[in-house]
């Protein structure tokens, strides 16, 4: 068979079929609700590798009238060899009639050749109403596997297993809500055992998923590095008149700066979540706090873009040239005194006049003014706090399945874990800590940010991989 394998996830309503599909397909767009009948039509989740389909998962509606469907089939049963034909006839007879819509919808892919993944909830007791469903599926003759998905806290797995083993050759327990990545791959490999020709595409799919998972660390590292660089280098500025009272603007500017940092951190969180294919996570997290006491600086600015230091340097250079000419004039007998004196006078004049220059107006436009700046923070601990929070968020996201729709609480229920993550820096090997500190220091100094992202990405990648392991 050359077509890619299909797997229909079928079962009683509300037993976690969509959760299993959501987790395996890493798709959080799957509608999952406690209300039965949320899935009303089949939805396909093709696993593609460079556009080539390796296998397709199909989420189906649950059985609603299994006993009545089976009764219809039994009325027309002749021999076991005819079972599949009877099921086909059932679908043919009832498609679009409104009577057995869900059964027709869920049986269609099975009759198309899909492997059957029959899902039950292992946290509730086994019941006879499931037998009709299993019997119908058996009649289709397609390879099948039963998945016990314990949704609640009850434990009826043993009872389910003994019942299911009468209908299915393979019975596995798979918790769609908490299954770690390795478990998901293991299950996919097991799908490949349903039919010999499915083994190769499933194996290739698993390898590709493993490779993809390996690349996740570098993507997350990059997202965190970009966030860190932005947060450590951004500032909020406001141009003021020379005579304006800076303290009047400080609290608003500080708020603006903090908002900017928090917004950037939230964007960083979203970027990491997107790397893992999570697009709808609701997050609850305490905002990052600034530890700096003094975030403000103020400097003059001038019409042609120079600050006071640059003006002074220009003045000093100009003075040095004039003084130098005098030195040349006296044949060097002044021992460069002219240059020194010229530079001093030029620099001092520029310093003294810069304040006046800022007040000057040309065509009623100010020639200069004061630039009040809040940030970037110089606190040496700040990058580690941000990084600790990012690392903790990453760990929570990396272990989260796409079936989990609860809000992600960071630093609320798990204070211990958070403080543990924030002190992770103490556990870092010396060379890693020094490399990180070098990068942070160069950012504090305002050195090129482009290189810093590359550097930080390279430094964070192994840290993330180890934390994940």
């Amino acid at each position: 068979m050359s077509a890619a394998p299909l797997f229909a996830v079928v079962g009683h309503p509300n037993k976690g079929k969509s959760s299993i599909v959501s987790t395996l397909a890493q798709d959080d767009s799957v509608r999952i609700a406690p209300e039965a009948g949320t899935t009303v039509a089949c939805r396909r989740y093709p696993m593609k590798l460079d556009g080539r389909v390796q296998y397709t998962l199909i989420d189906t509606p649950g059985f609603q009238r299994a006993r009545r469907a089976l009764a219809w089939m039994r009325e027309r049963e002749t021999t076991a060899a005819e079972h599949r034909a009877v099921v086909e006839a059932f679908v043919e007879a009832h498609r679009g009639t409104g009577r057995f819509d869900d059964e027709c919808e869920l049986l269609a892919p099975v009759l198309e050749g899909a492997g059957i993944l029959y899902v039950v909830d292992g946290s509730i007791p086994y019941g006879p109403e499931y037998e009709a469903e299993m019997e119908i599926l058996r009649w289709t003759g397609e390879p099948s596997m039963a998945l016990i998905n314990p949704i609640g806290s009850g434990d009826y797995i043993a009872a389910w297993r003994s019942a299911l083993e009468q209908y299915f050759k393979i019975v596995r327990v798979f918790d769609a809500l908490t299954a770690p990545f390795e478990k998901r791959l293991e299950l996919l490999r097991a799908f490949g055992q349903l039919r010999e020709t499915w083994r190769a595409p499933l194996e290739e799919a698993v390898r590709a998923l493993e490779d993809e998972r390996g690349r996740v660390h570098s993507r997350v590292a990059r997202a965190i590095a970009e966030m860190l660089v932005d947060m450590l280098t951004s500032s909020a500025t406001r141009r003021l008149d020379v005579g304006a009272n800076a303290s009047f603007y400080e609290s608003a500017l500080e708020r603006e700066y903090e908002d900017r940092l928090r917004q950037r951190e939230r964007e960083g969180r979203r970027a990491v979540e997107r790397v893992f294919g999570h697009h709808r996570i609701e997050r609850r997290e305490g905002e990052v706090e600034l530890l700096d006491q003094d975030l403000f600086s103020s400097e003059h600015w001038y019409f042609w873009g120079l600050n006071r230091r640059q003006l002074v340097a220009t003045g000093a250079a100009g003075g040095a040239v004039v003084g130098g000419a005098v030195d040349v004039g006296v044949g060097g007998t002044s021992l460069l005194l002219g240059t020194l004196l010229g530079a001093t006078v030029g620099g001092a004049t520029a310093w003294w006049s810069s304040g006046r220059l800022a007040r000057a107006r040309v065509l009623n436009l100010p020639l200069g003014g004061r630039l009040l700046r809040c940030g970037p923070t110089r606190d040496v601990n700040f990058p580690y706090v941000v990084l600790g929070r990012a690392l903790y968020h990453h760990l929570r996201i990396a272990g989260r399945t796409h079936a989990n729709r609860e809000a992600l609480a960071l630093g609320q229920e798990s204070e211990g874990e958070v403080s543990g993550m924030e002190s992770w820096v103490e556990r870092l090997p010396d060379d890693r800590r020094k490399a990180l500190e070098r990068s942070f220091r160069s950012l504090r100094r305002g050195e090129s940010a482009g290189g810093a992202i590359e550097e930080l990405t390279a430094q964070l990648e192994p840290i993330l991989a180890e934390a994940d392991a």
Partner: protein, 495 residues
């Protein structure tokens, strides 16, 4: 087609900005599809990005990158013309000779050698790498100030004379360089320096051609004079030193001691003709060439090389390029659905009160659905606290069982409610609701049918359902629209 480096940088930044608004999935699909075609031709990672850019954003003569580059060229041409003009003006002024005052060699050397070498020295300081610059106190501000006044920046003054589309593109480029100064700081620096060198080259070309024109077509007299204490011997030492690079190859280009002695101002002009001072022109033009034009040309080549290196570095470091390379280089793995989910039932509010309480000991007929663990009427009476007059089971095994249970009820002489006890933990499937419909038809209208979704306790008792379970049962019964069918609310708190 190869677009200029700066245009490519602008286009890449624009493209990555646009990409940031698209979903990562669609970007992965697009880029992976392109990657298959690019890998065959591309060499290194940077070439792959360039090839990618050429595919997603074909070289567009009206694109922002190309327009910014064109604006840059126009501004560069303007700067060149300005440099030429200023060079010609300077040469015309310094080589001016009206027959009274000869051309002062000292003044020509001061401007075309001394001043230029000074500016070259400052330029070299400005080109020092960032680390060195930080190590030397005061150098950073000096460099910034030099760049602020550098002729490369004068191009910005010419912006207002450009057509609107070119001006906008150029302003966009400036805004990009300034906004992300940390990323594009080096690009900006070398762009300014390259512009300044271009001005310097133009200035020197203008000065040289004008000087040569004056030498060729007018009769110039030269002399040297200064109020400083400079003897002819010392002056000879200075000019011989200046002529050292070419004097061995071209002895005629170096002034002789005789020439120096004879052309000292005023005494000289009195006793020598202008023709005798003429050999100075060879020396002066050689000085302008060697100390003016050549260093500027070398710096121009160097600055352009560094500019393209800075552009290439920025090209690799723009946020988004690493992600792009990842998209190009890794296999595209897709697992999510390609279609939207077709809507299921929305959770509409419950329209009518479907709850029913039965007083303890009230009479009823019970049907247990789908194997609810109540064995018989006695067990049901005890568990429910009701008087169960008849007991049947349905919802398991053959459909005939359901019919039998209903038939038993139709024979009952009283009109006590019919209690259908079902598992609260299972959802209300259509099969049960069909059964309720058939039951209604069998017992007639106005006979109370009460659905009792209950939890089974280990000791044979029953317990009320959890609130989410109870709520889904209430909703299902509400949807039936049958005023005589309700959901049993057992005494005790719902969990």
């Amino acid at each position: 087609m190869t677009r200029p480096a700066l245009a490519r940088l602008v286009d890449l930044a624009n493209q990555l900005d646009e990409d940031a608004k698209r979903s990562p999935e669609s970007l992965r699909r697009r880029d992976r599809a392109l990657a298959a075609e690019l890998v065959a031709g591309a060499g290194g990672a940077e070439q792959a990005v360039v090839a990618w850019l050429d595919r997603v954003r074909p070289d567009d003569p009206d694109g922002p990158g190309e327009r910014a580059e064109r604006a840059n060229r126009v501004l560069g041409a303007g700067l060149g013309v300005l440099g030429l003009g200023m060079g010609m003006g300077a040469a015309a002024a310094l080589f001016h000779y009206d027959g009274t005052h000869p051309v002062n060699v000292v003044r020509v050397l001061a401007v075309f050698v001394g001043l230029q070498l000074g500016l070259v020295a400052v330029t070299l300081l400005a080109t020092l790498p960032e680390r060195l610059r930080r190590a030397i106190p005061g150098l950073g501000p000096l460099r910034d100030a030099f760049l602020a006044f550098s002729p490369g920046r004068w191009r910005l003054a010419g912006l207002r004379f450009l057509p609107a589309r070119l001006r906008e593109a150029s302003q966009q480029l400036r805004a990009m360089l300034e906004r992300q100064h940390r990323l594009y700081g080096e690009v900006e620096k070398w762009w300014l320096l390259a512009g300044s060198q271009w001005f310097g080259v133009s200035f020197n070309v203008g000065a040289l051609t004008t000087a040569f024109f004056l030498v060729a077509f007018t009769d110039l007299a030269f002399a040297w004079s200064t109020t400083l204490d400079l003897s002819p011997e010392r002056f000879l030492g200075v000019v011989s030193g200046l002529a050292a690079p070419w004097s061995a190859l071209w002895p005629g280009g170096a002034p002789t001691a005789e020439l120096v002695a004879q052309t000292q101002y005023f005494r000289a002009i009195g006793s020598h003709s202008a023709a005798e001072s003429a050999p100075w022109w060879r020396f002066l033009l050689a000085c302008m060439l060697v100390y003016g034009l050549v260093p500027r040309l070398a710096l121009l080549v160097f600055a352009r090389w560094r500019l393209s290196a800075a552009v290439a570095r920025a090209f690799r470091r723009i946020p988004g390029v690493m992600a792009l390379r990842d998209r190009l280089e890794s296999r595209l793995v897709e697992t999510a659905a390609e279609t939207e989910e077709i809507g299921g039932p929305t959770q509409r509010p419950i329209l009518q009160d479907v709850g029913a309480e039965l007083p303890t000991g009230a009479a009823c007929h019970a049907i247990v659905w789908s194997g609810f663990p109540l064995a018989d009427a006695r067990a049901a009476s005890r568990a429910l606290g009701l008087e169960v007059r008849s007991f049947g089971s349905a919802g398991e095994g053959a459909l005939e069982n359901d019919a039998r249970a209903m038939a038993a009820l139709t024979g009952a002489v009283d009109d006590a409610p019919v209690l259908v006890v079902t598992k609260a933990w299972e959802p209300p499937v259509l099969e049960l609701l069909d059964f309720i419909g058939e039951l209604r038809a069998a017992v007639g209208e106005e006979r109370a049918i009460v659905i009792a979704p209950l939890m089974a306790a280990a000791d044979g008792n029953v317990a009320p359902p959890s609130e989410p379970d109870a709520s889904q049962w209430r909703r299902a019964v509400d949807r039936l629209g049958d005023p005589w069918t309700s959901v049993y609310l057992p005494a005790g708190e719902a969990k």
